[in-house]
Each structure stands twice: as structure tokens, then as C-alpha cells.
Amino acid sequence: MNTPTHDRNAAAFAESDFIDLAAAIDQVPATHRELFLTKLVILLAAGAPPGTLSERIERARKHLPA
């Protein structure tokens, strides 16, 4: 079994956020999920330092299925 070598200093994704996000997605009708997630990103990006969104987009893009 492989041992993950994660950066222990990286910002953590809290367990409570995991639960909250999953619950929110479940509560939004499937036809509105794309719009809901876009709004969520806009709200997060609006308060973030400049460049944060483009950096996160690149990170997220790397984790898309091949």
C-alpha cells in the first residue's frame, strides 16, 4: 500500500466544510447545481487575494479525470 506524501503545511479542508458542501450540493436540484457552484466560487473569489482564483483553477484542472 502506498503512503501518501501530502504537504502537512498545506491549508486543510475542514471536515465540517466537507460535510456542509456535500449537503448543500445534495439540497440543490441537479439542474441548478452548475449555477450554484459557480456562484459559490464567485463568492469565495470575491474576498480572496488577487490571483487566487486563477491559481486554484489550474490546480483543479490538473485533477480532472484524463
Partner: protein, 532 residues
């Protein structure tokens, strides 16, 4: 009707006299006429050829900014325009049924003008009247240019009229004949840039509803989900309504009266207004953000829509045209009169194309927000707009009216600052600010004529011999402790050299006569710099 169109008589070809024309201008739209009027201010005779038999139909180029109004003042028509125009400074943005943003674009307190709306037909009429009054121009309606041959020293035009055809030799040609102009096509020059597929049906309607003037932008109204509607008030109880078409809609079908009226009635219902209106005109528009690679080729110069096409969403199209005319007139006049090398005209392309490309870059963002040409853009716009019902996200997004005038800071006509303590405002290449000249009831721009002006703050005028060069230089002394002094960051002895088109050419804390004359040579002739 808000304007009476008259048939313009056709001048018989036999009565034409090309020997009188130092410059031939193709197109009697606002930019062709403004260019002719600008040349007349310098004593240059023109012949203007226009294929139409009347002044333009429809509201067309409606919205003028304060820079255009300054230019029109200097051309002598600003007063008539203001007497008939509608000024405005507010805008409102709606999403679905709710207002999500408002804008206020009042001009700076020192400026005379703000946003001004007047139908293009009136603009053409006022410019035509002023041009004919100069006695230096002949405007020939029903004279269609069918071909041109551009040689090194002249341009030969083939002209067709209802009374016969003729040829006309032009020492210089200004093509202000619009995006489908014959001059551009004959010379085989193509536009570069982006054309958007989204289309808008444009309607002029007469309606006496007393709504405040301003630009209203409706995103995703209930009767046109996902699309955009623009509404703009014009003088003479006219409203302009632009409806974006759905992607699968046929423009020809959507221009049929029953479709047009159905959209207008749906829009009036959304606004809670009784549909009491008269439909005047319907046309189709598609946004183009394109420019020619050069605006001067040998003896041919391009201006207005013949040189570039700008999306209408920021009210810039005709405004760039007026700036073309104002930039070009003094330079071409100097070249025609033998006072400057034709290389001066290279700076026309350099300055105007640079300004145009800056606008296109900005309006591209506005245009894609309004037209959403991709699924991703449509999704993010929908998210932003719906969030904006309660969150102020639109304030920083795509407000094309907030942009200050372009500064030609890289113009070869500039002399760079010799003193490092000037602020960025009013730097070489920027437009001189206007100001009231206290305590006299006069404005700075009233004192800037079609010549170079040396503004001197304080009493110490450099010993410049104003008549010693080919460029009679007007000297204007202003107090340091004044509105103008503050706007120009002046101290006693500060000097600004202002070009005939109101741009700063050079500035000094203390100038010598040699420095002023050298800067004048650079700005007026441009023969000692990189254009050689």
C-alpha cells in the same frame, strides 16, 4: 417626425471642378463632414462625395462623449448640438425584473460637457451647414465612387452620378465611407479583429413616456431569457431599443413588424408602461471589433468606420470617428500646405490606432459580457447577475463609460519631460484639461484654436518669437493660482505646449525659447525622430 429629410440635388459632372479640391473626402457622414470642416479651419479646400441623395436615416450614431463635444465646439457646431441634444449621466442595469446596478457618470467639475445624445441626421445637418458656410467645400450628393487608383502623387477616382460619370483627380483622399467603403475595397485592405455572431434588432420608436434619460441595460428579461436589451433615450421623444436575438432566430423574420411590436410590447409591459409608441425604424446590428492595420497609405487616409468598427455597447463608434477627424485635420492641412513632411501622417495612424486598440480591448470584455458567446460566459454572467440582486458585484465589472480619454504617451510627436517633478496628469500625449478661466467668463478650450498654443503660468514668458517659424504660435498666459493652474500642476514659469488637437506636446517648469522651438518642430513636423 423628428427630422425632415430632403432630397439633395445632384451636381452635374460638367460643373465639377477638381482643380479646386486640395483634398477629396469620400462620405458625407458625420466623420467625413467633420474632417472637411476641420480642414476648412486651416484654409484647406475640399470636395466631399456622397452616394446617398439625402442625409442619413435613423438615429444611428447617437451617443457622444465629452471629448466629441469639445471637438464639435471647436468645429463651431457644439452650440447647435447642445440646443437640440439630450444630456445624460445615469445608467441602470436590470436582471430579470430587478435593478442590480446603477451608474453615475457626471463629468469632472471643470469640464463643460458630459454624455450627449443627438440623432446622426441632426449631426450631419449641423456639420453640413457649418461646412458650406466656410465657402471652402463642395458637398456632392448622389456622386458614388465606383473605383479608385492610388498613385504615388495623386488618387484618381471614378465617380458615377444619375447625370453621367466622370473622373476626379485628388491630391489627397480621405475615405470616410463606412465599413463597406469603396476606397478600402479598391485598395484591398482588410480589417483585423473579431466579429461576433450575436445579432441585435435595433428599433427607433417615438414615445412620450417621461422616463429619466440614461442608458438602461436589461439582462435576461422574462420575455427574452438569457439575452440582453439596451434602451437609450434620444431627443425629440425618441427611444432606441436594441433587442438581442436568440441564437436560432432568423434576423429577417425577427424584423417583421408583428415580431418587432411583440418584443416592444413585452418590454413596455416589463417596465410597467402603456405601449403608446410609434415605430420609426428597424434594422439589424452585429458587433464588430476590427481595425485596419494602417489608417494612412500613400495619398489615402481612412477615418471613422472606414478605418475601424467598434461595438456599440460603450457608445464609442462615432466618438472615435470625431477624434480621427480632429487628429487628422491639422496634420493633413500642414502636409497639404507644404508645412510638414507627409511622414507627419504616420503619427495619425500611430496615435489613433493605438487609442482604438485600447478601446477594442476594453469593449471586448463588455461585448462578451453582453453577448455571452460561450456557455461558460453565459453561466458565469448568470451567476454574477443573480448574485447582484443582493451583492454589489457589477460595480467593478465592465463599465465602459468610466474610462478616461486615451493618452498618446508613446506618440513620436511628444517631447518627454525634462523635469521629473511633474505629476502623471497632463503629461505629453494627454489631452489638456478644460477649465473655466476665472474670473473671466470663458473656458480654456475657447482659447485653443487650430494652432499651437504655449500656455504660460505666471508672468515670465519665454522669449519665443511666435512668428519666427512656419507655425505661428499663440501664447496664453494664465495665473498659477487658478483652476487651470491646479489642473496643470503649475508653478510660476510652468509652460505647456498644446497641439491644435488639444493634446499636450511638451511641458517645462522653466522653458527656454530653444526648447519651445525644438518641441514645436518635433510636434509639428516629426522629421527629427524615429519616423524618419
Amino acid at each position: 417626425m423628428y427630422f425632415t429629410w430632403q432630397d439633395m440635388p445632384c451636381t452635374p459632372p460638367a460643373e465639377t471642378d477638381s482643380a479646386l479640391a486640395e483634398v477629396v473626402i469620400v462620405g458625407a457622414g458625420p466623420i467625413g463632414l467633420a474632417t472637411a470642416l476641420g480642414l476648412a479651419r486651416h484654409g484647406v479646400r475640399t470636395v466631399v462625395l456622397e452616394a446617398r441623395n439625402t442625409i442619413s436615416q435613423g438615429s444611428r450614431a447617437l451617443a457622444m462623449n465629452r471629448r466629441s463635444m469639445q471637438i464639435l465646439d471647436q468645429l463651431g457646431v457644439g452650440g447647435r448640438v447642445l440646443d437640440n441634444a439630450l444630456t445624460w449621466s445615469a445608467g441602470w442595469t436590470f436582471y430579470d425584473r430587478q435593478q442590480v446596478h446603477s451608474m453615475e457618470i457626471a463629468p469632472p467639475p471643470s469640464e463643460k460637457h458630459g454624455q450627449t445624445n443627438l440623432q446622426q441626421c441632426w449631426m450631419e445637418q449641423f456639420l453640413l451647414d457649418a461646412l458650406l458656410a466656410t465657402g471652402l467645400s463642395e458637398v456632392r450628393y448622389q456622386h458614388r465612387v465606383t473605383h479608385l487608383d492610388a498613385e504615388d502623387d495623386a488618387v484618381t477616382l471614378a465617380v458615377s452620378t444619375p447625370m453621367g460619370d466622370y473622373t476626379l483627380d485628388a491630391p489627397w483622399l480621405v475615405a470616410a465611407d463606412g465599413p463597406r467603403g469603396m476606397a478600402r475595397r479598391c485598395m484591398g485592405i482588410d480589417y483585423e479583429g473579431t466579429s461576433y455572431s450575436q445579432r441585435f434588432v435595433i428599433n427607433d420608436i417615438l414615445c412620450k413616456e417621461p422616463l429619466p434619460a440614461g442608458r438602461r441595460l436589461f439582462f435576461s428579461p422574462p420575455y427574452l431569457p438569457g439575452k440582453t436589451v439596451l434602451m437609450h433615450k434620444a431627443p425629440f421623444d425618441m427611444w432606441r431599443l436594441d433587442f438581442q436575438l436568440m441564437d436560432d432566430q432568423d434576423a429577417e423574420v425577427e424584423m417583421q413588424p408583428e415580431r418587432v411590436h411583440a418584443r416592444i410590447r413585452a418590454h413596455f409591459e416589463l417596465m410597467g408602461i402603456a405601449p403608446n409608441y410609434e415605430l420609426v425604424l428597424t434594422s439589424v446590428y452585429k458587433a464588430n471589433a476590427v481595425s485596419l492595420p494602417t489608417y494612412n497609405t500613400g495619398r489615402v487616409l481612412f477615418a471613422g468606420d472606414a478605418a475601424h468598427q467598434v461595438p456599440i455597447f460603450g457608445g464609442r463608434g462615432v466618438n472615435h470617428g470625431y477624434e480621427d477627424a480632429h487628429n487628422l485635420a491639422w496634420k493633413l492641412a500642414r502636409v497639404v500646405k507644404g508645412e510638414a513632411s507627409p511622414q507627419l501622417l504616420d503619427s495619425y495612424t500611430q496615435e489613433r490606432r493605438s487609442a482604438l486598440l485600447a478601446t477594442l480591448a476594453e469593449l471586448t470584455r463588455t461585448t462578451i459580457f453582453i453577448t455571452t458567446p460561450s456557455a461558460g460566459l453565459a453561466l458565469v454572467r448568470e451567476a454574477v447577475l443573480s448574485l447582484s440582486i443582493t451583492e454589489n458585484f457589477l460595480g467593478d465589472l465592465f463599465d465602459p463609460y468610466a474610462t478616461p480619454p486615451h493618452e498618446c504617451t508613446d506618440s513620436p510627436l511628444n517631447t518627454q519631460d525634462a523635469h521629473g517633478d511633474f505629476p502623471p496628469a497632463c503629461r505629453p500625449g494627454a489631452l489638456a484639461p478644460d477649465a473655466e478661466l476665472d474670473p473671466i467668463d470663458e473656458r480654456l478650450y475657447d482659447r485653443l484654436g487650430p494652432h499651437f498654443t504655449l500656455i504660460v503660468f505666471g508672468d515670465t514668458v519665454p522669449p519665443v518669437d511666435a512668428e519666427s517659424t512656419d507655425d505661428p504660435l499663440r501664447i496664453l498666459t494664465l495665473p498659477v493660482d487658478s483652476t487651470a493652474g491646479r489642473l496643470f500642476a503649475a508653478r510660476p514659469g510652468t509652460c505647456y505646449l498644446i497641439r491644435p488637437d488639444n493634446r499636450v506636446a511638451a511641458r517645462w517648469r522653466h522653458a527656454t525659447a530653444g526648447q519651445v522651438n525644438a518641441a514645436l518642430d518635433v510636434a509639428a513636423c516629426a522629421q527629427s525622430k524615429e519616423m524618419q
